[in-house]
Amino acid sequence: MENINTTGTEAVAAERSLRSDMRGTYRRRLVAINLAHYTMVMLLLGVIIWTLLSALIVPPSFSHSTSEQQGNMIQCIDNIMQKA
């Protein structure tokens, strides 16, 4: 009777230990996934903020012209506005 009780107690302890291990593994996996997710969300937020900020800076647009004309134009403005 004593033997059976001991075996039963050990089995319960082993099962508890196994469950605890599994819970630990599951928790670690959950933490890793959450961390990856939040890192990506933060990166995405950064990209969105960068997009909004860069929208404030409008790139130059030219009339229908060749690259030579555009080059002349930029050179001419830069040459005149050196001191601005």
Binding site: I33, A36, H37, M40, V41, L43, L44, V47, I48, T51, S54, I57, V58, P59, P60, S61, F62, S63, H64, S65, Q69, Q70, N72, M73, I74, C76, I77, D78, N79, I80, M81, Q82, K83, A84
Partner: protein, 169 residues
């Protein structure tokens, strides 16, 4: 959870690619979006017109400008006529020696209706072009005039050195 990760990853790739494409894609302005001066000379065989919108000179200064390049003598005659510029013999001598003669023109000085009160034009007699800064904000008007004048004085200084040298010889 996996689906959320995939959506985030997808957005992370798609958003920068879209933004990059839109921003890097060159945009050509239609003629009606350009200045009146550009529209006036866009089809001229003697004058080559180019217009730029939102050109960043530095962190504080962004300009719209029209460049009119004279391709022939008659084109240059047209530019000097409309901008009311006369080239003096000593200017011509300086130009022949490779110096530049610049002129700063506002709407009072040139042909009526050519420039508005917020436009400034700079004429280069050596390179035979007129660069017109369109719709300049009053904040930057003086800044541009200062920059152009300092350039003109620099060229005047070079020219006067040249004239003095000519007279000494």
């Amino acid at each position: 959870m996996k689906r959320r990760l995939l959506i985030t990853l997808f957005l992370l790739i798609v958003v920068p690619l879209t933004v990059g494409f839109v921003r890097m894609h060159p945009r050509a302005l239609e003629p009606w979006e350009c200045s009146e001066l550009y529209q006036r000379y866009a089809d001229s065989p003697d004058i080559r017109a180019t217009y730029v919108k939102n050109y960043r000179v530095n962190d504080t200064l962004t300009l719209n400008a029209t460049l009119l390049e004279a391709l022939t003598d008659s084109g240059w005659a047209e530019l000097t006529n409309v901008f009311n510029i006369s080239i003096m013999p000593h200017d011509q001598a300086a130009i022949d020696k490779g110096y530049d003669v610049l002129s700063l023109i506002n709407n009072d000085r040139c042909q009526k209706g050519l420039l508005s009160s917020s436009d400034i034009a700079v004429l280069s007699c050596r390179n035979k072009y007129a660069c017109v800064f369109n719709n300049v904000d009053s904040i930057y008007y003086d800044k541009i005039i200062d920059a152009v004048l300092s350039k003109i004085f620099k060229s005047l200084n070079n020219n006067s050195n040249f004239i003095q040298n000519e007279e000494t010889l």
